[in-house]
């Protein structure tokens, strides 16, 4: 079962979420501050970071950025605010998904599972070891992406988005469809997840973000991979 590092300053929320997740078999380490969470990171080696946005000293967004400097581990933000700006900032900082508090444990667990789930390689399909798209090499089985031969560190949502789009090059995916396929969200979730993820992915794989080659926007329709 996944190891989850929970950073949450509110005692009842921390205990409730910890209890609920532990009940479902997760190994949970709960810390009250971002600093403590970062400190616990190397020893605990979590599979996923569950991060409250509103933390007393170091904010969740700052923790998120710090983690992303060295790691592409899945990060899910917990937000108690209805403030949409915080969500956008958190997503820009590199979070893969977010959960609005209060939430049932089953909802939290479903998101954790979705973020951790790997894209299945179609069984029996003759998949080349590395697909080459321009300078981009995509290794579906190996779960890695190379750019001009060098590995590109991609967060899980970014990688899954790229794998989803590049699986059918030149096909247009609506943002709702991407939310369902990549994030496993219901139809009407927040499409800003997709937009923020596309921005982060482009920053990592595109030469010029102003005129992207790989992940292209089709106004009013969605996104597609290529044509190159």
């Amino acid at each position: 079962m996944p190891r989850v590092l929970l950073v949450e300053d509110d005692l009842s929320a921390r205990e409730g979420v910890e209890l609920g997740l532990r009940r479902r078999g997760h190994q949970v380490l709960a810390t009250a501050t971002g600093e403590a969470g970062l400190e616990a990171l190397p020893a605990f080696r979590p599979d996923l970071l569950l991060l409250d946005l509103m933390l007393p000293a170091m904010s969740g967004v700052q923790v998120c950025r710090r983690v992303r400097e060295s790691s592409q581990m899945p990060i899910i933000m917990l937000t108690a605010r209805g403030d949409d700006v915080d969500i956008v900032v958190g997503l820009e900082a590199g979070a893969d998904d977010y959960i609005v508090k209060p939430a049932r444990t089953e909802v939290i667990e479903a998101r954790i599972r979705a973020v951790l789930r790997r894209v299945e390689v179609p069984a029996g399909a003759a998949v080349p070891a590395v697909e080459q798209h321009g300078e981009l090499g995509i290794d579906r089985a190996g779960w890695t992406v190379l750019r001009s031969g060098a590995p590109v560190p991609l967060a899980p949502s970014e990688l899954k988005l790229l794998l989803c789009l590049s699986a059918v090059p030149e096909q247009v995916f609506s943002r709702q469809r991407l939310l369902e396929e990549v994030w496993e969200h219901s139809y009407h979730s927040d499409v800003r997840l997709v937009d923020a993820c596309v921005r982060r992915l482009r920053a990592k794989i595109e030469d010029d973000c102003a005129s992207p080659r790989y992940v292209q926007t089709l106004r009013g329709l969605g996104y597609r991979f290529g044509p190159l």
Partner: protein
């Protein structure tokens, strides 16, 4: 009558009337004085010189008409100041210096007066439009010194046409008229200036009042001078200041109330986060507890879930109240969106859906989901199945109808059905739902610039109709983002279309 003209016109007319009346009055008085002065001078000269002539005239007796006529010629030649015709009357004898022996101008009164008065008398006569001065003068007999002079019975009359005087007086009238008209024209200038000086503050007042009506309560009028207009401006400014204070107070109170609602829901969320996370645990283990404890625990768990919904709805309403609700639009297929809402809540089997394809519309999918979910949920809860959801496009609007087969909405509840916490069915008020669902629905529809209404159609049940502005079947745009965009290029089409809704 007064209302038919503007203030400016009325002021100018009043000003000109005053100017005209004073001009006419002055002219009339001047005319009268000047006229009498001219006439009196002429007639005084005439009477005096005629008397002199008559006094020097000592006729020879008995009177010889021919000799008398020569005398008369003589007197007529020395006429002063204008030529006159001299007539003589003595008994039945008539003579004159003119063509006719008897004057047609001399009146009977003058004749009588001339006979009795030793100093003679005169009269102004107007005949056939011409003015004449007629003078009657008796010729006196000379008696021994010390005795009284006695009228001899001979009376001389002088008839003098006053043509020159008439011309002079006509000249006066012309001069008065010629002076008055330019005077009135000149008076127009101060009239306009005066009107302007009155109207400027009035206009400023009007602008200020209009500005206040538009909600700019900091509007003030500059106060000049100490006249009534300045008083009015000062009063206006004081009232405006008081009004501004009151409005500010009301606004502050409203803001405080809204912020309080928002703060309360924020504060409620944190404990709920912990509680809601453990409801699963509680529910799973409830079976192992004693029956009473299990019931209590399940009650807490169920109510926690409802409380979470209520808090979420309160947060949503607070965002609308704070005008912080954003519209994140996207182009979607309306039928697909409704199907997503129904399937996401496992309603597909319970709801009859008529969803024609091809209705692509720009809307906020999340908000549209809330609208449809609230209406369908409301129909399933308070109405009765079958519930029908029908999509159609009509007259520039996408129409979403949700129709249930229940008893419909009580008529007295209809006007309040979208009010916050309004529960049409008091008996079932605690069934479920926060009491904010329809209010949130309405806010979301308004945010899209649409309308929502509830009615009881003839066939029975309750019908909710949502109309969203719709530009007809949208054509899929084929633009790629190969062109540079304004912001870092990573923003997809929607981020440029995002509408910061601040209605």
């Amino acid at each position: 009558m007064a209302a038919a003209f503007g203030l400016r016109t009325r002021l100018v007319i009043a000003f000109l009337l005053v100017a005209a009346v004073s001009a006419v009055t002055t002219a009339a008085l001047t005319y009268r004085e000047a006229r009498s002065a001219v006439l009196v001078r002429a007639q005084d000269t005439a009477v005096a010189s005629f008397r002199e002539e008559v006094e020097q005239f000592v006729p020879e007796l008995p009177l010889d008409p021919d000799a008398l006529r020569w005398y008369l010629y003589d007197i007529a030649a020395r006429a002063k100041p204008h030529p006159w015709i001299v007539f003589a009357e003595y008994g039945s004898l008539r003579a004159s210096s003119g063509d006719r022996p008897v004057s047609g101008v001399v009146t009977a009164e003058l004749r009588r007066a001339a006979l009795t008065s030793p100093h003679g008398s005169f009269e102004r006569v107007v005949k056939d439009g011409s003015a004449y001065l007629t003078i009657g003068m008796p010729v006196m007999t000379r008696i021994i010194a010390g005795g009284r002079a006695v009228p001899s019975g001979l009376v001389l009359f002088a008839v003098m046409p006053m043509t020159n005087e008439e011309v002079d007086i006509d000249g006066l009238v012309t001069a008065a008229r010629d002076g008055a008209l330019p005077g009135l024209a000149v008076a127009l200038v101060p009239a306009l200036l005066a009107a302007r000086s009155v109207l400027r503050p009035v206009r400023a007042l009007r602008r200020a009042a209009h500005s206040m009506g538009g909600g700019r309560f900091d509007t003030r009028i500059p106060v000049h001078g100490r006249d009534e207009m300045a008083d009015l401006a000062r009063t206006f400014n004081e009232s405006a200041a008081r009004l501004e204070d009151s409005v500010q107070e009301l606004r502050d109170a409203g803001t405080r109330a809204r912020r309080f609602a928002s703060d309360v829901s924020h504060e409620l969320r944190t404990p709920l986060a912990g509680m809601l996370a453990v409801t699963d645990v509680v529910d799973e283990d409830a079976g192992a507890l004693s029956p009473d404890t299990a019931r209590a625990v399940r009650l807490i768990s169920a109510e926690t879930a409802k409380l979470a919904v209520l808090v979420e709805d309160l947060m949503e309403i607070s965002r609308f109240d704070a005008r912080a609700a954003e519209l994140n639009t996207d182009e979607v297929d309306a039928a697909e969106a409704v199907r997503g809402t129904l399937s996401g809540r496992q309603w597909l089997g319970r709801v009859h859906a008529e969803l024609p394809d091809g209705l692509r519309i720009r809307l906020d999918p999340r908000r549209f989901d809330v609208v449809v979910a609230n209406l369908v949920g409301n129909a399933l809860r308070h109405g009765a199945e079958p519930v029908t959801v029908r999509l159609s496009a009509r007259g520039g609007a996408l129409i979403t109808e949700v129709h249930d087969s229940g008893p419909g909405i009580a008529p007295d509840a209809l006007p309040h059905i979208f009010d916050r916490f309004y529960k049409a069915d008091t008996a079932r008020s605690r069934s479920s739902g926060s009491g904010l669902g329809l209010a949130i629905t309405e806010e979301n529809v308004h945010l899209h610039g649409g309308r929502v209404r509830a009615e009881n159609p003839p066939g029975g049940g309750a019908l909710f109709t949502v109309e969203l502005p719709f530009e007809g079947p949208a054509s899929p745009g084929g633009e790629t983002d190969g062109r540079p965009s304004a912001q870092s290029g990573s923003g997809p089409a929607d981020s440029r279309d995002r509408t910061g809704a601040t209605t």
